[in-house]
């Protein structure tokens, strides 16, 4: 009888608990999770290949669209690599502006995560209020860069927009409001029973496991690993700024919540210093269109953890190879350990707690034939024809509708 009660259920690719398509195959015994198999690849967009057929300038905007939330992280990471290959020394003011936008992005990302985490544990009040407060930082970003997301502030050799005295004052005012609100959320996290009881002891990732699995960002820091690229390998203006690396020894989702909230307070500290110290001078140096041959690896502390870009140039206007390792790829394996022997009901919040961004992570789609266990990689054309055929077999045919649409347009 006991053997019969074991079963496997698929969570995803399309599932209400997941914000993006990704497949988790969960082996269950009653409510208890025996094992999880993670299948990546449902959001593959071919971005790395697309980079190779565009110029470096065009790539900035493509790379920025890897992720909607940490767009500045990806574009800065890419540009740092390109600038290193080209041997460009970027002005101090540009470095400070990059840091400022990077930290504002961290603020909006962490507030967004707080809301999502609240939603996943059924605490929607927290979602509504934290997202309302997030609008303050979104407005600041729109004011400084010209857009709410995909800021487009970076260019090879510096930044595209300068910051005026008035904007500095406005940003400082917004930071005061945000700091007050964040203090309140820290209090909520430390006192509210709903949060403490639901998140304590859930999604446990021990210190040794986190090291072994190579966790990054707040996931690692909540397991008491002081790993932060801003401190370990300072880029932009971080070497000149004073801030702490927040760690926590809870080793669970509650710890990750506390780490993110306290990191917000550190971000406000960094932003204030940047606004005060902002050096005068140019914001951009002239960059060549053809980047000399060479390769570089660049690291950046995105809100979700360490982001890594590898760029290889061959002396033309277009890169030879671009490789992106998004933070979620480093963290996704730890989900397996976190869910081992836990209840199925913990799954949504455990996945949400690493702040996953699956579309940033996916690099290829691999198809396994269950009959002979053979594996093959499908290209775009094959996927498309497979999709059309799959629906046609089930009586859904869009050919007539397609023809009708073509006639009308």
């Amino acid at each position: 009888m006991a053997e019969k009660r074991k079963f496997t259920i698929p969570i995803g690719p399309q599932h209400p608990a997941l914000k993006e398509p990704e497949s988790f195959s969960v082996a269950l015994k009653g409510e208890k999770i025996l094992g999880v198999e993670i299948k990546l690849g449902y959001n593959h967009r071919g971005l790395e290949k697309a980079c190779e057929s565009r110029t470096f300038i065009q790539d900035i905007y493509l790379i920025e669209r890897i992720c909607g939330i940490c767009s500045h992280s990806h574009s800065t990471c890419f540009i740092q690599a390109v600038e290193e290959i080209a041997g460009l020394q970027i002005p101090a003011r540009a470095n400070y502006i990059r840091t400022l936008v990077g930290e504002l992005e961290r603020v909006h990302s962490h507030l967004l995560w707080l809301g999502v985490a609240g939603h996943e544990i059924g605490f929607d009040t927290l979602l509504m209020y934290s997202w309302r407060d997030r609008e303050v930082v979104m407005d600041v970003l729109a004011e400084l860069t010209g857009n709410r997301v995909n800021y487009g502030i970076n260019t090879i050799g510096g930044v595209r927009r300068d910051i005026s005295e008035e904007q500095i004052k406005e940003t400082a005012k917004a930071i005061d409001i945000l700091e007050e609100r964040t203090k309140y959320y820290v209090e909520v996290a430390q006192q509210e029973t709903t949060i403490i009881k639901r998140l304590s002891g859930v999604g446990v990732l021990k210190h040794d496991d986190a090291l072994r699995l190579g966790a990054v960002g707040p996931t690692a820091r909540a397991s008491n690993i002081a790993r932060d690229i801003r401190k370990d390998d300072p880029y932009a203006a971080y070497a000149e700024l004073d801030f702490k690396v927040i760690t926590d020894n809870h080793e669970d989702i509650y710890g990750r919540t506390v780490v993110r909230l306290l990191e917000l307070m550190e971000s406000y500290k960094i932003i204030r210093q940047v606004l005060e110290k902002l050096p005068a001078g140019d914001i951009c140096v002239k960059a060549p269109r053809k980047i000399p041959a060479g390769e570089a690896l660049s690291r950046y502390e995105a809100p979700r953890g360490e982001d890594m870009h590898y760029v290889k140039a061959n002396g033309t206007e277009k890169p030879d190879r671009v490789k992106v390792r998004a933070p979620t790829l480093a963290n996704v394996q730890s989900v397996k350990t976190m869910l081992q022997d836990r209840n199925l009901a913990d799954m949504p919040i455990v996945i949400a707690a690493i702040d996953p961004c699956f579309s940033c992570t996916d690099r290829m789609t691999q198809v396994t034939d269950l009959a002979d266990n053979s594996r093959q990689v499908w290209d775009w054309e094959k996927l498309r024809s497979h999709g059309i055929e799959w629906y046609r077999q089930r009586g859904v045919d869009f050919t007539a509708l397609n023809n009708k649409l073509k006639q009308r347009l």
Binding site: E143, N147, N150, E187, Q191
Partner: protein, 118 residues
């Protein structure tokens, strides 16, 4: 200290506050001054160097020669990602960003903005 209903006060206070949301489109929304919206083309400044076409990440902009030192510009609003790179690339300042963001069109072909030299 454990305090159930820590957010209760906040929730009750909100009962007497005005909503944060705005009834768009009944209430007009203004974008900030530096917002990157639709691209404006000034035909008399264009020299036809086509640097904007070369740098556009989505090939949304097209410059055509229509006469002696006369150029027309066509921007596909469906392709444009409003990054403003064409504005940065233009040496003659023939292109500029506007705050116009209400660009939805009914129909694929209506989404093309064409500015011709008059």
């Amino acid at each position: 200290m454990i305090n159930p209903g820590k957010m209760l006060k906040e929730v009750l206070c909100s009962l007497f506050r005005k909503p944060v949301t705005v009834l768009y489109p009944h209430v007009k929304m203004e974008m900030p001054v530096g917002f990157r919206g639709a691209i404006k083309f000034s035909p008399d400044k264009c020299s036809g160097c086509k640097l904007c076409m070369r740098d556009c990440p989505t090939n949304a902009i097209t410059i055509n020669k229509v006469g002696e030192k006369q150029f027309e510009c066509e921007i596909d609003l469906g392709k444009c990602i409003y990054c403003g790179q064409c504005v940065d690339s233009c040496f003659k300042k023939a292109l500029e960003v506007t705050r116009d963001m209400e660009l939805a069109q009914a129909g694929k072909n209506k989404g093309k903005l064409k500015v011709t030299h008059r």
